[in-house]
Symmetry: C2
DNA sequence: CTGAAAGCGCTTACAG
DNA sequence: CTGAAAGCGCTTACAG
């Protein structure tokens, strides 16, 4: 009975440096030095301290530690849950997974940046200050939101993904290159009537659109403006609707590009529901290269963004920036986006 | 020039309670009381303090706060990145999104539990102690790992998802009920030769298998043991391989259940590649109800787990447990899993 | 209504 | 080789 009580108590109350010092009969300074690996402490003493720490199940208290050291070993991740973005989008979820993996290997934890804490409302930047993040990674956010810009312009080390600023390191896929390769390939398959249900306006969307039009221009291909539709990223339903519109045209396209792979599913669905054959009658291409795109039959032709590397680079560059700000340039890193040729684009004779 | 310097400096150095007290000519105690809304401070003083805090852009320091208050407003999330689980699985990613959303609304931040920090290795439990989490949610983890069990058995408030323990609150889908409904439906569509490529062993898998066999037994349906295959959750490739084996049987099944929707894609792919028609020749059903399952044509028949509610309940129950441990029972909450009838199971005459 | 003091758990010059 | 002391930023009995 009394034994239980003690064990519960020991469990509940976390051992402090003070407990160790008491148990060993040395000062807290000495204990601290041993625990931090200072070589100046005598071997005897060191051993005793280590033993006591072990026995007491001592774990340092990060809060006390950080209060002194001004270092939290914690990275704030801005991951807006805008409608269809965020964790529900495999693209971002995979980036986060890689980011976390690499941050952890570098010794940093990850905490989501929020708009409030306890019952008080906070801006993103205030939240970052409150939690004393060592650095910040903006994975997906509305970059027109002033709160987001405040974070970018703050004194925190910042890395952004999919968006570049002068004030921060940014990691991007080569959207232009990826789209160029894709468009080039589609043209090479004999398509001239190519429609594009692109995503909502953003710098990423813009770059893809430009590349798309450039390739067409280079091949003297002119498409009617009603071949261009502004859908919503990731929304299969939205893409499905626009596809019906395209299929109803008298000069219907022979190939439809979707804003991303999720949207491509909507396009394919519409084609089948309209009683047409896919890809025999209408070809389709996606973007992102999410896992299911390759599990489909026929496989989807798409552009694979290297989420693994995007997350990895974000973490690594951020750690560099946090640990040696003076020797880390605020560069824009562009990662190759790879064309994946599936069977969803038919060769026209 | 000097102006810039000052502004940079002001930005960099975060204002403390002390700065406010200096600016107002009152004590730090008084400032603290005003900031914390104690009603005892004079109106004049209060106003002055609030104004100064505003002007200095004061944000409290969570580390100092927690050191005193023993409350971190931070929830640790155990989210193992086992091979194909974790963030790469839409099921878990959606649960995490809902969990985060609800935790945030309740005033709590979310930090991933890791195995190390800085350059020192830590167990999961040590990490939790280090970060002083107020509570812990185990979303996906290997429950045979002793480190995980240590967390469950610790004094931290714990909520687990998809796995029950006596020592913690658990939130689960009604896997039995969902599978019963699915199996019942398939049988009602006239299928008797039903194969099941189930996932690797776990309590969840077990419950689904039991329900599956019960329904068959109730209908006096006997299936050969080679209709049962142990695949890997989420791995389309694995399911695809097993499907070829099933299709090569002389008494091939008329319907194949997959461990989950991702795996179902592999099954469908194999059927098509084998030159058979889907769903005319072979029917397919999945599990989980991830978003793409409904974007496919034909739509997949599956069982939708309510990830929204799983995450929500996990957050809400954990907050209850943290804030009023004495009045919060350690219950096991089972959430309805809904049969979604698509067009992937054909009616046999 | 206000403030001095103690203390949360830790680290690190500094002195010996 | 070891320890006393100061301090990180905050809160809260306690005294006035």
């Amino acid at each position: 009975m009394s034994k239980e009580k003690i064990s519960v108590q020991e469990n509940k109350k976390m051992a402090t440096i003070r407990d160790i010092s008491l148990k060993c009969g040395v000062s807290v300074s000495t204990v601290s030095k041993v625990l931090n690996g200072y070589r100046e402490i005598g071997e005897e003493t060191s051993k005793a301290v280590m033993k006591a720490a072990e026995e007491l199940g001592y774990v340092p208290n990060s809060y006390a530690r950080q209060l002194k050291l001004k270092k939290s070993y914690n990275i704030g991740v801005l991951f807006d849950t805008l409608s269809v973005y965020g964790l529900k989008n495999e693209y971002f979820a995979h980036i986060l997974a890689a980011l976390r993996e690499n941050a952890s290997q570098g010794g940093y934890d990850i905490t989501f940046i929020e708009n409030n804490i306890g019952n008080r409302r906070m801006t993103y930047l205030e939240h970052c200050k409150y939690r004393n993040f060592d650095g910040i990674c903006i994975v997906c956010a509305d970059f027109t939101n002033p709160e987001v810009l405040d974070v970018v312009n703050s004194d925190f080390p910042v890395v952004t993904i999919d968006h570049s600023f002068n004030e921060a390191i940014s990691i991007l896929s080569d959207n232009s290159g990826g789209m160029r390769d894709l468009a080039q390939y589609i043209v090479s398959m004999g398509h001239k009537k190519i429609a594009y249900i692109h995503g909502n306006k953003s710098s990423v969307t813009h770059n893809r659109l430009v590349a798309f039009h450039q390739v067409l221009a280079e091949h003297d291909i002119v498409i009617p403006e009603y071949y261009m539709k502004e859908g919503e990223y990731r929304l299969a339903e939205s893409a499905e609707e626009f596809t019906y519109e395209l299929l109803n045209l008298s000069d219907r396209p022979t190939c439809i590009l979707a804003s991303d792979d999720y949207a491509a599913l909507g396009v394919i669905k519409a084609i089948k529901r309209a009683g047409l054959r896919f890809p025999e009658d209408i070809s389709v291409a996606g973007f992102d290269g999410i896992s299911i795109s390759q599990a489909l039959e026929p496989k989807l032709t798409t552009v694979k963004q290297d989420t693994e590397k995007l997350g990895e680079q974000a973490a690594k560059k951020l750690i560099c920036l946090m640990e040696s700000p003076m020797t880390t340039p605020l560069e824009h890193i562009v990662l190759k986006a790879e064309l994946i040729i599936g069977d969803s684009v038919k060769k026209l004779r």
